[in-house]
Symmetry: C2
Subunit: 170 residues, 2 copies
């Protein structure tokens, strides 16, 4: 902690939030990866609690349900691509959904290694229940933003994602 005594001797911090990024000193509160992580964590937690207690769904499970409802039967491989989740995560989420008979497997005649996952009736029913709640959460989270700000935010998040993917190759 900046103790009571050294507050006056500590070097001043001339930079403001709007200064160019380079040459800034590092302060966690304004460090983008930190802010991003904190915001994402807070949002995920809320949603996780809601899905978990009301529907017994984990977030990976919910993602599979959402994508399958939107796009129809897909292989796990395809689900990996759609949800940016590891194949292991997809396997486990799928197993949970299979146990609860929310999805079923369609044998894939084209490739004996894989199968396509498809929502069952009760899976569709669950989705019909969860989706409005999910949209409601989203609109509450975004309540303070104008539509064009929301669009910008989504765009910027995608940009960060791509930039991170680029950096990773380095």
């Amino acid at each position: 902690m900046r103790t009571a005594d050294d507050r006056l001797t500590r070097t001043p911090r001339p930079e403001s939030e709007s200064m160019p990024t380079k040459a800034r000193t590092l302060r966690l509160q304004h460090y983008l990866p930190y802010r991003l992580s904190v915001a994402a964590n807070a949002v995920s937690r809320v949603i996780q609690l809601a899905y978990e207690e009301r529907f017994g769904l984990t977030i990976p499970q919910w993602r599979l349900v959402a994508v399958l409802a939107d796009e129809g039967p897909l292989t796990q491989q395809e689900l990996c691509g759609r949800t940016i989740m590891d194949k292991v995560t997809v396997t486990r989420a799928a197993q949970g959904l299979l146990r609860r008979r929310l999805v079923k497997r369609l044998p894939n005649s084209a490739d004996g290694r894989s199968h396509r996952l498809m929502l069952t009736k009760s899976g569709e029913a669950l989705h019909a229940e969860v989706a409005p709640l999910a949209l409601d959460y989203e609109s509450k989270l975004l309540a303070g933003l104008k539509p064009e700000e929301i669009a910008k935010l989504e765009q910027h998040l995608r940009l960060l994602e791509r930039a991170a993917a680029e950096l990773r190759k380095t």
Copy 2:
């Protein structure tokens, strides 16, 4: 759900990205909590790999170092507040840093239950090495954004964080 065969009969989706949130059908690709989580994950992963392999630091450890460098000695309790991490996470991160002698404990005469953590010389040296790298990562991530867009983004992330905290109470 759409099967392979009914792709053509499926009802069209008139909504665009910029439509108001309400009345949208749910599509994961445009669902904000999803986009936020994916972006944050991608960014965290890159940074985690960098810190881990070059400095042997976990992200919680790095956060403590950053805050202590910025603010001086703090109790773990105070560090929890600054980093929005669980006290357990702080304890474990602090233990790692203590083992490596990157921080030391100052007994807290005011309260025998707690102590203040302070960077050692080598902790400061490490910080001096990591901080420029961290800022460099940040500016690469934000390369496509104008300063005012960056400021907006930070502001919107904070808004989401607050909204999530509000929702959680509900």
